[in-house]
Symmetry: C2
Subunit: 289 residues, 2 copies
Amino acid sequence: MSDLSRCSLNTATVKHATLTEAVEAAASAGMGAVGLWRHQVQESGAGTARKIVEDAGLRVSSLCRGGFLTATSAEGIREAVADNERALIEAAEVGTSELVFVVGGLPGSAPEAPPSPGTDRDLVATRRRVADRLADLAPVAEKHGVRIVLEPLHPMFAADRAVVSTLGQALDLAAPFDARTVGVVVDTYHVWWDPALEAAIQRAGREGRIAGYQVCDWNLPFAPAALNSRGHVGDGYIDFATVSRWVAEAGYTGDVETEIFNEEIWAAPPAETAATVGARFAQHVLPHL
Amino acid sequence: MSDLSRCSLNTATVKHATLTEAVEAAASAGMGAVGLWRHQVQESGAGTARKIVEDAGLRVSSLCRGGFLTATSAEGIREAVADNERALIEAAEVGTSELVFVVGGLPGSAPEAPPSPGTDRDLVATRRRVADRLADLAPVAEKHGVRIVLEPLHPMFAADRAVVSTLGQALDLAAPFDARTVGVVVDTYHVWWDPALEAAIQRAGREGRIAGYQVCDWNLPFAPAALNSRGHVGDGYIDFATVSRWVAEAGYTGDVETEIFNEEIWAAPPAETAATVGARFAQHVLPHL
């Protein structure tokens, strides 16, 4: 039996399971950790959520997600900072030091929808505001002992979900801050295509900023909702041997989360999904770590 | 009336029109050029196609497309080189110096289809083969007086259509060759999201490699066939003022092709589409050139 102690089940992969069911599925499959989402933690309360995970002998590898930093109005900015402080506190309370940030899209955009009349297309200024909000939030993160973990999203989501599109850009945004305060996550789905990926992973390792490694595959054709096109590791086009080797060579020794958004996988029993996640991790990722 | 002399209608935008119909639509709208596709040129013969365009008082801004350089077998490589030589000759015969190259996806991939059992996921090696084929083809291009114009495709097409995904990567691939032999095209749809875009356009300008500027918008939601999600300039999320300014500041003075793949636009009368293309160019692009 393979050692799945570094394998983590991000609970979005078993979206329709309760927290208890997801944790049981991960533990039964032999995994060492789970990645949680804020809405789950809020539902049960952070203390209860932490106990559910710890009682099963697991770790919390990360909390998803803070971010949404692109607002232009003073009120929108205040709300974003306040909500991210709550998220940082939740992360600490539920027992993880890593809060994943999805930074948000162009102001006035909506996920997979046409622009509204008020959409602000100034991508350069939007990205500058992300840097400004990180400057606001870094001291807050430091105070709570939680790391802001920037997640570059695939460029297909640059308009409507996240204006941070490459690992290099995430590292540039992180650069002004201590590596214990602002890090990055390498999610294969989002970055596998990048001709600068090897160099960016090396840089992230040198700078001590690799806060997470997430895996899932690039499936084609796209699902009707493009976000849900992710697949089990091994079902799509990604070369996990190479990317996993780069991450390992950069010195990463932490958990490897599988995070899949896919309607078919969501319809499967959580225990079956967790077993597949574990088996694919053992086959395609673990030998290269 | 705006000056549309730099505005070019790529005939893929009016897919169901004959060459004569497409040229008439572009000329009636006041445009100065058309961008052609090989199958059209082959149907009528390059000489006839050239005459149709010249008789209407237009230029051929570019020919689409060569490329598909990722084959692994000796036979596949020979075929790719031979077919690209035919394409270079066709470009010269039809009266353009610019042959757009789409380099192809991972071997064994098919457009918007799951991987086949024989799919080769080694993206790094696939990209290396593209460089090797360019070395084979550069002297051929030079001989025929036609430039190989590398088109980076959006990273959402990296698996199945083109492993060249950023303008910077295209410039790295072009670097070993004379700028009159290997250039790049800036297509807003494919590169608008890139945090390194301004720097890459500046570099392309400095190196004399900007061989074309193509525009169309980033529409959401994606069409059922993702390739066909492009929209008329102004309908989506792209900041054409900024990107057009960067291209102009980099010294580009050539034609600006509108190339749209979109089922609804294909269903519209070609003259109506050409009028819209001209109006959107005048409104969103021309003031920033």
